[in-house]
Amino acid sequence: MKLLTKITIWYIAIVAIIMVVTMLIARHNLELENKQAEIERLTDRNNGIAEQIKTGGLSSVHLEGEALTITKWAGPIPSSKTTVEENTVFNKHIGRDEHKITVNSFYQSGSDVYKISSHNYITLIWSSILQSLAMKLLPIILCIVIAASLISRYMLSPFRKTLEALRSFNITERKQLELAPTTTKEFKELNLFVKDMTDKAIAEYATIKEFSENASHELQTPLAVVQSKLELLTGTNIDETQAALMADMQNAIEKLSRINRSLTLLTKLENHEFVPSDIKFCRIVKDQLALYEDRLSLKQITIQQQLDKNIHTHMHPALAEILVGNLLSNAIRHNIEGGAIVVTLTQQQLRISNTGLPPELPTDELFQRFKKSNQSADSTGLGLAIVKQICMASNFTARYEYDGGWHHLMIFFDKNVNRSEVVTAVKEQVEETVLQRS
């Protein structure tokens, strides 16, 4: 529910309650005043009648049609000379209750005590009160609703502008947030806070980016020193044992450097530092396949390609190369001698299937960093993590399945594609291929 609607509802509710309460109080006071006036009037009339009785000037003519009774009172005169009775009488003719007020006055005339009672009806009708309540409330509600929508458009506009600015805020652009000036205290505070936060985020982002680049630089240089010294050392007169030790060292340095590079790449991917452009993905797949040709033939792996033409994707070209390269090198590394690889590229997906030993880990865990099957302890264990991260950066989904001796790695270009259908289709297709091969 909109904030404005909430405020309006609350406001109307409060106004309505206040109006009902004040109405009740007003009615009560009105009734009281009315009654008091009536009692005074009736008492005064009783006194007038009594006076006339005393002077003997009262005739029955005077009393004709008057709501007045004069009775003789047996007993002494009551201590309060005037009493008031109130009761509600149902009037059959007009069909409603009437409030009847009776004033009894007692007078001593010689030895006799007279009681003069006069009465009248006062009426306060509820329906008219309710009617006037409604007549007041309706225009008030209408005014509130209209005023609220008009004023909010003006009052809340800085808030909306801030929201809009936040929505379009992109930390990788490192552009400071521009917020519209406002005179409202709360919005001023909000803008100040938002500006502070985003500026801080930009600064932190720059620091992290700088750090990751510097870390890479600072690490790569000493690594280069060690590697070059080791290479010079290898060129000197060394025996076999020393050579073996140096080879181990070189392996370790190589690996260290690769892990460092991969981690830097992952950081950059997470920071969205690669600006995508429209590329011909099919071209990149072809080029990468050509680059791996010699290794495929050396391992006697047969490769089957079903590449559709004109496949365009929106991503950084270097990332596309890394993505396809990583998948292909995985398919080769985890393959068996004389195995097979099937590469399929359609508008929806890139699929690389290869023969190989069953995975030792659940297939979805292999996308995590440093998770790898033991059979290839030589790899950095970051290849698939990079694949996953590139997919995330490019709005693709990656999926890995193992089925009957075949590893399938699938990259779906469209996130909305129904994956279960595609996966079933893939299995059928690969089974066909297997049958053809055997």
């Binding site: 020193v225 070059s228 010294k229 010079l232 076999e240 050579a243 073996a244 680059l291 090198s329 290839s376």
Partner: protein, 228 residues
């Protein structure tokens, strides 16, 4: 060949100049942009090895001023940053090649040689060693004046061996040379082994001298003194 090495890390600069001196190069070292500019005014060089991050400035700026002054030296950028932007910027600004740290000295040498050849500074596109000769334009190998049928990788491998002859080349160095960034796992050693084996077989079949020998545990060496 005269080379100016601009690198702020003294140990690394020492390694590079050691290696290249061993190959018969004349090396001068500069550790800062200031040093380098000074040397460039006074002398001319065939090639400049240029680190990008220097204590008193950026190598890219130095590169721009080199190109502005129309200094006709080949430029090979050495950088710890494999940031794609740096690579592209460096090449756009007129660098001839780009190598990222850490690198193998043999690789650096091969790249340097390639720049030298491309610029035709020695006026030839042939690399000849005794009975083996390579045409770097056509990427062809002749053994005893007969054309040898080699794959692209085998050609690359042989050229790499001859350029770094009498040096021990580790399997990592060979793998990196053959596959570059894609030499991403050590399983590639099997492929190095097979490529070397195939190359040796082909040369021997053409009655060529088999100069390549295995250095146990480390890699291979093109032994120029080896006689059949």
């Amino acid at each position: 060949m005269k080379v100016l090495l601009v690198e702020d890390n003294k140990e690394l600069a020492e390694s590079i100049s050691d290696y290249l001196r061993g190959e018969g190069y004349l090396i001068e070292k500069a550790h800062t942009v200031y040093d380098a500019e000074d040397k460039l005014i006074a002398f001319s060089y065939d090639c400049i090895l240029l680190d990008l991050m220097l204590p008193d400035g950026n190598g890219i700026d130095l590169l721009r001023s080199i190109k502005q002054d129309k200094i006709n030296s080949g430029v090979l950028i050495i950088s710890a940053k494999d940031a794609l932007d740096d690579k592209v910027a460096g090449l756009e600004d007129g660098a001839d090649d780009y190598i990222t740290k850490p690198f193998h000295l043999s690789e650096l040498h091969a790249r340097l040689k390639a720049i030298y050849r491309r610029k035709k500074l020695d006026g030839s596109n042939a690399v000849v060693f005794n009975d083996i000769s390579l045409d770097t334009n056509r990427m062809e190998v002749m053994v005893n004046d007969a054309l040898l049928d080699v794959t692209r990788k085998e050609y690359d491998l042989l050229l790499y061996f001859i350029i770094n002859k009498d040096r021990v080349l580790s399997r990592q160095a060979i793998a990196t040379h053959l596959w570059g960034d894609q030499a991403d796992d050590l399983a590639n050693f099997d492929f190095v082994y097979q490529h070397v084996k195939n190359l040796r077989k082909k040369i021997s079949a053409a009655k060529g001298n088999d100069y390549i020998e295995t250095v146990y545990g480390v890699g291979y060496k093109f032994n120029s003194l080896k006689q059949a």
